[in-house]
Subunit: 185 residues, 2 copies
DNA sequence: CCGGTAGCATGACGATCGTCATATGATAGT
DNA sequence: ACTATCATATGACGATCGTCATGCTACCGG
């Protein structure tokens, strides 16, 4: 039973990963259960052996993805000194590669408004947002908390606006301006 | 023919308005053509006398709504002096009432990521974003353009994060931090 | 080697989607 | 007053959605 249980947990992880990528690429409502299962290498019917509903999957995917991002920022903010930690977090977020690879990008920028409309998910999401702002604050001088909230806002907004911009130069300008606003020169 | 043509244009406007509110409330893919027509006081079949497809409606709704927002910012930035114009634009955007009334809110915050996935809409959207940043820049001192890009990023991000926050106090903190980042004290 | 169970596949259900062909009804010009 | 036309309604189409009942297959414990 040990082996089979591991197998099931691994398959479950594949479904979560597939759903995360597809949701970020096309939006939550644009992706059906069959597309998710197919991307995970399975067929659609078995889905309900793993999740009670599509909504339950959505809640778990968003919570897990944001918790992972929060953990990464916490780790960076504790391992490195303030200046380099800030640089690593902000620069990887405001990287044109992040803008281009939405399917692996931060869910705040790919699914933020969609998640805001789903009340069941918002508790866990708020928790991760708190952890991210706290990690950012640890990297900042002065009025840390206010600066951290402003920095996260600018980072999320800049990535959204960069993805909306038809013109690559304008997109790069948003990223650069947010970088400066987050405390980097 | 004059009167009937006016009537048709007015009905068309009602459809656009209904679609705008429903898209912002529930997301583009979550709203069907029949829900839009019903909200406009009509039945679903007549839709295709006004728009070639749902996608065409989406493109027109997003372009029109953002163009109207851009025009409002331009008007404010020209009518008032720098300081009060900035205050009027930023404070109305970072108002808790804006966060609460998503169905009438700025589409950058309600549909930003969803519009970014629809290539047909992005040209007109980029144009409105340019007009908004230019209007903001007119209200700012110093390195105007960079400050305007950072301010718009922070404003969009703060409203998204405030809508995601389960806790009203945290939501208010995001709005306040972005207000400060936009140059208000 | 055998039986049972866990993991997944097959196939079907009602509902809803975007789209369109066609019918109805009111209005406007003659 | 008649009729042509335009704005909207009705109803249907194939496709796809989320969900579930059921069937197959392969591995595990004995």
């Amino acid at each position: 039973m040990r082996v089979t249980s591991d197998r099931k947990a691994e398959t479950r992880g594949r479904i979560l990963e597939a759903a995360g990528a597809l949701f970020r690429s096309h939006g939550i409502d644009a992706v059906g259960v069959d597309a998710i299962m197919h991307q995970a290498g399975l067929t659609h019917g078995g889905f309900y052996a793993y999740f009670a509903s599509k909504e339950a999957l959505v809640a778990e995917v968003s919570a897990a993805s944001l918790a992972r991002a929060a953990a990464r920022w916490e780790r960076i903010s504790q391992d490195a000194d303030q200046a380099t930690a800030l640089e690593r977090i902000v620069d990887s977020y405001l990287d044109p590669a992040h803008v281009a690879a939405a399917e692996r990008g931060c869910m705040l920028t790919t699914l933020g408004p969609e998640m805001a409309r789903r009340p069941e998910s918002r508790g866990a999401i708020t928790d991760s947002i708190r952890r991210m702002t706290d990690a950012l604050a640890r990297c900042l001088p002065g009025r840390r908390r206010q600066r951290a909230l402003a920095a996260l806002s600018a980072m999320v907004g800049a990535v959204v606006l960069a993805r909306l911009s038809d013109n690559p130069a304008l997109a790069a300008e948003f990223l650069g301006a947010a970088r400066k606003a987050a405390g980097l020169r």
